[in-house]
């Protein structure tokens, strides 16, 4: 099973010109869904997530020859995906000339109208609550709640200290709990 292939093996194959494509295929199969869902939870819309995940893997392909093996491949790819998401959201704000809060409202509307969302009422409310958070808190909450990522790994991805991440997460959870209690 491709998902079982260790990152070190993928990297070793990638260094060889003959097995480079095979290595990248293994990489894609192993991480494409994880990165997609990470991206999707941030941008909500599937088509936007599709564009971003493809751009993310193109960047991974371009920069993988210079990847330092002392860092974790997974967190390195997560960082690229996260940066692509933030760049996309910033462009969305500039293109529509709207403030950050209005972007959250726009994403909430997209979520409500989305064909590719089959969650129940509680799950929809949870997503609406998450969209009220600042971007950094959204990232921390999603990575902890959905991916069960450790704070140390999140620190590598976001370049933020573990303590700050813990504080952000608890703030985010409190806000979400408050949101879920206060609204039907």
């Amino acid at each position: 099973m491709a998902a079982q292939v260790e990152d070190a093996e993928i990297l070793r194959k990638f260094q060889d010109e003959k097995t480079r494509n095979e290595a990248f295929n293994l990489l894609l199969k192993k991480y494409q869904q994880k990165l997609y869902w990470h991206i999707r939870r941030m941008v909500i819309d599937h088509d936007d997530a599709d564009d971003i995940v493809q751009d993310t893997f193109v960047k991974i392909w371009k920069n993988l020859p210079g990847f330092r093996s002392d860092a974790q491949l997974y967190t390195w790819m997560y960082r690229i995906a996260t940066n692509e998401c933030i760049t996309f959201l910033n462009k969305k704000k500039q293109r529509n000339n709207i403030p950050l809060d209005d972007v959250a409202y726009e994403l909430a509307d997209t979520l409500a109208d989305s064909t590719y969302f089959n969650g129940d009422k509680a799950q929809l409310k949870l997503q609406q609550a998450i969209l009220t958070l600042p971007e950094k808190q959204r990232l921390v909450f999603n990575m902890k709640y959905y991916d069960d990522m450790k704070y140390e790994e999140m620190s590598d991805v976001l370049g933020t200290s573990v303590g700050a991440l813990k504080a952000s997460f608890h703030l985010a959870v409190k806000k979400i709990e408050s949101f879920l209690l206060s609204k039907d």
């Binding site: 494509n21 990248f24 295929n25 894609l28 199969k29 494409q32 869904q33 994880k34 997609y36 869902w37 999707r40 939870r41 599937h46 599709d50 995940v53 493809q54 893997f57 193109v58 392909w61 371009k62 997974y74 590719y116 969302f117 089959n118 969650g119 129940d120 509680a122 799950q123 929809l124 409310k125 949870l126 997503q127 709640y145 959905y146 991916d147 069960d148 990522m149 450790k150 790994e153 959870v173 409190k174 979400i176 709990e177 879920l180 209690l181």
Partner: protein, 275 residues
């Protein structure tokens, strides 16, 4: 990635959140992940193709980039040679060593000069009214200079110096004495008037003082008889007075003297006497 999906005890503090189904509520189109690999690989190929093909239609001469370094180096050498040309200028020895001191000294002098001028004072409100005064002066000057509309013949000022010299230096050579224009003097006018008055007065006076004798002497009768001798007259009178039939009178006050008849008579008498 180390997942610890069972370690979700933190949710116990947030009961509302704990009640929400933690599964991913998002979905994707059917078969999406099956085709995602190919889509990503296709995109990577497109990106590599973009990189390998030059920008649309733009080309470069063969070996351009191989020669580019040499060309740039040659250009740099030329620029350096040109810069060395400016380096041929020299300054006096120790110029830059003394330059700072010289500049500071100059600044001190300028400051001192400024302080001296600061000692001068102007009347109060001078600068406030200066603009108005200058404008008034300009207005007056403009009004006076309106004669600028007069013109002179072409080349007038070119010949003016020569003309003035001709009229001054040459005439001075000819007329060494002082010219006094009598007609323009006031004394001459008064003298002329006095002479006229005297002449008129004398004429009137002389005309008034003439006596009857003088009037007679000036008369025609006197002038006519004065040319006849006394003897002739006496003989004439005797001839005519002795004749009683002759009633003629020499003078008849009631008649005017007929000069022609008188002359004729005298002439006849003279003729008779001379025969």
């Amino acid at each position: 990635m180390n997942r610890d999906r069972g370690n979700r005890e933190w949710l116990n503090d947030y009961m509302s959140l704990k009640q929400v189904n933690p599964e991913n509520p998002f979905t994707v189109p059917e078969g999406y992940f099956d085709s995602l690999n190919e889509q990503v690989l296709s995109k990577i190929k497109v990106e590599e193709l973009k990189k390998s093909i030059p920008e649309t239609g733009f080309t470069i001469p063969s070996n351009y980039f191989e020669e580019l370094s040499g060309n740039i180096q040659a250009r740099v050498n030329v620029e350096e040679a040109l810069d060395k040309g400016t380096a041929a200028f020299t300054v006096p020895e120790g110029y830059f060593d003394e330059l700072t001191g010289n500049i500071q000294a100059r600044i001190s002098i300028e400051k001192a000069a400024d302080k001296e001028t600061a000692g001068f004072a102007v009347p109060e409100g001078y600068f406030e009214s200066l603009a108005g005064q200058i404008e008034s002066r300009v207005f007056v000057e403009d009004a006076l200079s309106e004669t600028g509309s007069f013109t002179v013949p072409a080349g007038y000022f070119n010949d003016l110096t020569e003309n003035i010299l001709n009229k001054t230096t040459l005439e001075k050579k000819e007329q060494k004495g002082v010219i006094i224009r009598m007609f323009s003097s006031a004394a001459f006018k008064y003298a002329s008037a006095a002479c006229l008055v005297l002449a008129l007065g004398a004429t009137l006076l002389l005309n008034r003082s003439s006596s009857p004798v003088e009037e007679h002497n000036n008369s025609f009768l006197h002038k006519s008889l004065s040319s006849i001798s006394v003897d002739d007259i006496q003989s004439y009178l005797q001839t005519h007075l002795d004749n009683d039939n002759d009633n003629r009178t020499l003078l008849d006050e009631s008649k005017q003297i007929d000069a022609n008849n008188l002359s004729r008579d005298l002439q006849e008498a003279l003729d008779t006497t001379s025969q």
